[in-house]
């Protein structure tokens, strides 16, 4: 019971904290627009979005991951670091003080550089791994553009014309850090890790870009704000993911929104799997592969290792943010958005409206982060050649087919409804595949042979019959299974 209460308290705290964060982002944005110069809010957005939101979530993630994995694994999780302040004495605070101890540990460790390492490149590695992942978030809109104090405030740092291409370009820079770290350490294990990371990135860059083409076609844009879209109002219909495919008539708008995941389920799976591979976390953690090759950062210690570590977590946040903006409707509510926007209170206080939608965005981001943690703690690691096969033989053809089918459907029916019908069908097939308790046909044959090892010897009728194992397939397993294949 107390655990449930703790979790509830944590949830409410998180929502309130986010609400406060987004609200101050909007208000400060409005203030600087008023007092400094037009466009100053973009500068404060850098501060709020990247330094406050992404960095703090990433930092908290180091804790959340340990705590969440502990819940998965039926253990307590970190709870021993305590602060001796009055009122807080001997409270574990959900393990939060561990973040502090982590930082202290990283900062006070010896900064070790191997004698044979290339010092310049060795030092450059963590920086190159760390910087690009932060820059990624610059083009992700984290809230609607609203009027605050009579000035228009966008919740995005930059809106370049090349939009998503910027993300693809910067994301591929991150591999230099990993490759350099592997090579400059002058360690064979690290070198193997660096080589693995490089080949993995190359294989998944292609699938990553390709899986998005269908979405670009559907929304005729590569800019994230355009893909997220503007809410419809009395003046015009919604655009981007804010439009409805089908909706009820009436004051309160209820309907099926044109979210990316409905239009492009295959694109979503491909993008999620490929970008998961880019984050280098299990089941794609081959560059690390701690039980095989220890990892590309084996020679790094202290805060340099910490940079690699935190850049992984930042990648998780950024990946969740980009996926939310592209496929989960960004900051839009699934329904009722137009109704909310037309309320007099919201019309009057733009920042309040922006804050609500901004909180929605960050909640979606948190959900995706949670999914990533779940996958990370449930799956074993791929093998080097299997990961290449998945990238080149499954994700790439899937992405190509998706591009052609989506393109044809968008041409045929520009209202996107045909695309949505196909998408819902695909989602249905995926759900059925996930729920089904039999193995797919191709794997089924192979398993039948192995059934001999398992059920064949059971002449006394004690052990489980061969089919009974299917019943154990856990939902999480199935769902994630579908997303990686």
């Amino acid at each position: 019971m107390s655990r449930v209460l703790t979790i509830l308290t944590a949830c409410i705290t998180i929502v309130v904290a986010m609400f406060g964060g987004v609200a101050s982002a909007y208000l400060v944005g409005g203030l600087v627009e008023e007092h400094w110069f037009t466009g100053a809010s973009r500068l404060t957005n850098i501060l709020f979005l990247i330094l406050v939101f992404v960095m703090i979530i990433a930092t908290l993630l180091t804790m959340a991951e340990r705590k969440w994995s502990a819940f998965i694994q039926d253990r307590m999780g970190p709870n021993m670091a305590r602060i001796g302040l009055p009122g807080l004495k001997n409270r574990s605070l959900g393990g939060l003080p561990h973040i502090l101890t982590d930082v202290l540990k990283m900062l006070t460790k010896e900064d070790f550089i191997p004698a044979a390492a290339n010092r310049f490149l060795f030092n450059l590695g963590p920086i190159l791994a760390f910087a690009p992942v932060f820059a990624l978030f610059a083009v992700v809109p984290a809230g609607p553009s609203v009027n605050v104090f009579g000035h228009r405030v966008d919740m995005v740092v930059a809106t370049p014309d090349f939009g998503m291409l910027y993300i693809l370009a910067i994301a591929s820079l991150a591999v230099y850090g990993t490759a350099l770290a592997g090579w400059a350490s002058n360690n064979k294990f690290a070198l193997l890790g660096g080589v693995r990371a490089t080949s993995q990135m190359i294989a998944y860059e292609v699938a990553l870009g390709l899986s998005l083409v269908g979405l670009f076609l559907a929304f005729s844009s590569v800019q994230l704000p355009a893909i997220v879209g503007e809410l419809g109002s009395a003046v015009g219909l919604g655009t981007g993911q804010a439009q409805y495919l089908w909706r009820t008539d009436g004051e309160f708008d209820l309907g099926l929104p044109a979210w990316g995941i409905i239009l492009q389920p295959l694109g979503f799976l491909g993008f999620f799997a490929a970008s998961f591979a880019e984050t280098k976390r299990a089941p794609f953690d081959l560059p690390e592969g701690e039980s095989e090759i220890i990892g590309y950062f084996v020679e790094y210690s202290g805060m340099k290792f910490g940079l690699f570590m935190i850049s992984e977590f930042v990648e998780v946040v950024v990946l969740a943010g980009v996926t939310t903006a592209l496929f989960l409707g960004g900051h839009h509510l699934p329904f009722g958005g137009e109704w909310l926007a037309s309320q007099p209170l919201m019309q009057e206080h733009g920042w309040l409206f922006g804050t609500i939608l901004g909180t929605v965005f960050w909640l979606k981001v948190l959900f995706l982060i949670w999914v990533q943690l779940l996958i990370r703690w449930t799956f074993p690691r791929f093998r080097y050649d299997q990961i290449q096969a998945l990238g080149w033989k499954i994700l790439l053809p899937m992405g190509l087919a998706n591009v052609f089918v989506s393109g044809a459907l968008v041409l045929w029916d520009p209202s996107l409804r045909a695309l949505a019908v196909l998408g819902i069908l695909e989602l249905g097939v995926l759900a059925v595949l996930t729920m089904t308790r039999k193995e797919p046909a191709e794997a089924g044959g192979a398993h039948g042979a192995h059934g001999g090892a398992h059920g064949g010897h059971d002449t006394h009728g004690h052990g489980l019959p061969a089919g009974a194992h299917a019943a154990h397939a856990m939902p999480a397993h199935g769902a994630a299974h579908a997303s990686t294949h």
């Binding site: 039980s291 799956f379 074993p380 093998r383 080097y384 090892a453 006394h460 052990g463 294949h485």
Partner: protein, 417 residues
């Protein structure tokens, strides 16, 4: 290479000598092999073993397992102590299933003496052995999951293992190094209410095994990584001297508990799982099923265990009861002689084997009749299993080495004596 037939090609020609020859251009890019040391301290080496791996890219060209980092002079140590005092040394052979080593050794000594132990002692030995077979398999299967990146199965396995270690501690007083049993029987009876506790632990354990099974057995990534990797054929396995789960995974139905039943194994109804392909996946499945069978044996043994003495009533072999030691001169004398001189095992030699968790645990004992072993040799199941690693893994990928090394389950302590 036909160019070489023309003599003019060999004449020095300053214009063309600097260029690459045509054959060189067509040749494959020259690659360098990389030698890496996995171990002696590496996350994936059980115990301490060094694998010298020669890599071409990620493919293993040559691998050389090197043992000796855990050498403690087991055989020589045994020659300097009495037969009973050998027990603590046997604990440290396969430290995950110490009781099986204890009982295997005692069984061999009893065979050398020609001694029949009481019924209840046999049951307790079966119970102890199967408990430790479970812990050993749990560690192996859990670690397999762990080293492939799946942390969850490992913790499930460890939860069950902890339960079993608690039970072991209640039974023997130690979690790992049990030193349980004495020549002629068992030194301590089952504690009060212990059987009920074990039943409860097994109930929970079955749930945990089922959960582990659900996480791994049908997990596509796990299956991809284990099925068809680390294959050894039945013939090769026999040639290398494989026994236990690794051999049975190749399809050879050989289990000493069935083939040559000792203690009371012939009274229990259990199956010996046999694989087909001899790959990592089959070894994993065999171990998983063996755990279920062990639980089955345990339940039957605990249901049918008879009452009675737990050690032979022979003061030349077993220590006299304490009241006799304190109250009678005969008791004091036998106690003194047993402790100071040891059990007078008749001169002779014997080979005896039991089915330990990783295969046939054989004991070759020689006695010269003076109360101390003249020679103790262990046929450790881990040794042939490790010896075959180069045969299995050469030409395969580096990543295959990990599951293979996990599922053959070589234990450093018993390999090095």
């Amino acid at each position: 290479m036909a160019d070489h037939a023309k003599p003019e090609d060999h004449a020095p020609n300053p214009d063309t000598d600097a260029y690459a020859h045509e054959s060189e251009l067509e040749a494959h890019l020259q690659t360098k092999r990389m030698v890496i040391n996995m171990g002696p301290s590496h996350p994936a080496t059980h115990g301490t073993v060094r694998l010298k791996v020669e890599l071409e890219g990620e493919t293993i060209v040559k691998i050389d397992p090197e043992i000796g980092f855990l050498h403690r002079g087991f055989q020589k140590s045994c020659e300097n102590v009495t037969w009973t005092q050998c027990l603590p040394y046997t604990d440290r052979l396969n430290y995950l299933s110490a009781m099986m080593n204890n009982f295997g050794f005692l069984n061999a000594v009893e065979k050398l003496i020609g001694l029949e132990i009481p019924e209840r002692a046999k049951y307790i030995r079966v119970i102890g052995s199967e408990l430790h077979r479970l812990t050993d398999h749990l560690t192996c299967v859990g670690a397999t999951g762990l080293e492939m990146g799946g942390f969850q199965p490992f913790l499930l396995a460890l939860e069950f293992r902890e339960l079993l270690f608690d039970r072991t501690a209640e039974l023997t007083g130690a979690r790992l190094t049990t030193s349980f049993g004495r020549v002629g029987g068992i030194n301590r009876d089952l504690p009060e209410g212990w059987v009920e506790k074990v039943r409860k632990s097994l109930d929970r354990g079955e749930e945990l095994i089922t959960e582990m099974d659900a996480l791994l057995t049908r997990n596509r990534i796990f299956v991809d990584r284990t099925k068809g990797t680390g294959i050894i054929s039945a013939e090769d396995a026999i040639d290398f001297g494989y026994t236990g789960p690794a051999l049975r995974a190749c399809g050879v139905d050989y289990d000493i508990r069935k083939a040559k039943p000792y203690w009371v194994y012939d009274r229990f109804d259990f199956d010996v799982p046999v694989g087909e392909h001899g790959d990592n996946y089959d070894r994993y499945l065999v171990r998983l099923e063996e755990m279920r069978q062990s639980i089955r044996i345990l339940r039957q043994a605990m249901d049918t265990i008879p009452a009675g003495p737990i050690i032979v009533d022979d003061w030349r072999i077993a220590l006299p009861p304490k009241p006799e030691v304190y109250g009678t001169i005969e008791g004091v004398m036998s106690h003194f002689k047993l402790v100071m001189e040891g059990i007078q095992v008749p001169a002779g030699e014997v080979y005896d084997s039991t089915e330990a968790s990783n295969g046939e645990l054989g004991w070759y004992l020689v006695s010269d009749g003076r109360g101390r072993p003249y020679k103790v040799h262990v046929r450790a199941p881990g040794f042939p299993v490790l010896a075959a690693v180069p045969h299995i893994i050469e030409g395969k990928m580096l990543a295959d080495l990990i599951p293979t090394f996990d599922t053959i389950n070589m234990i450093g302590g018993e390999v090095e004596q």
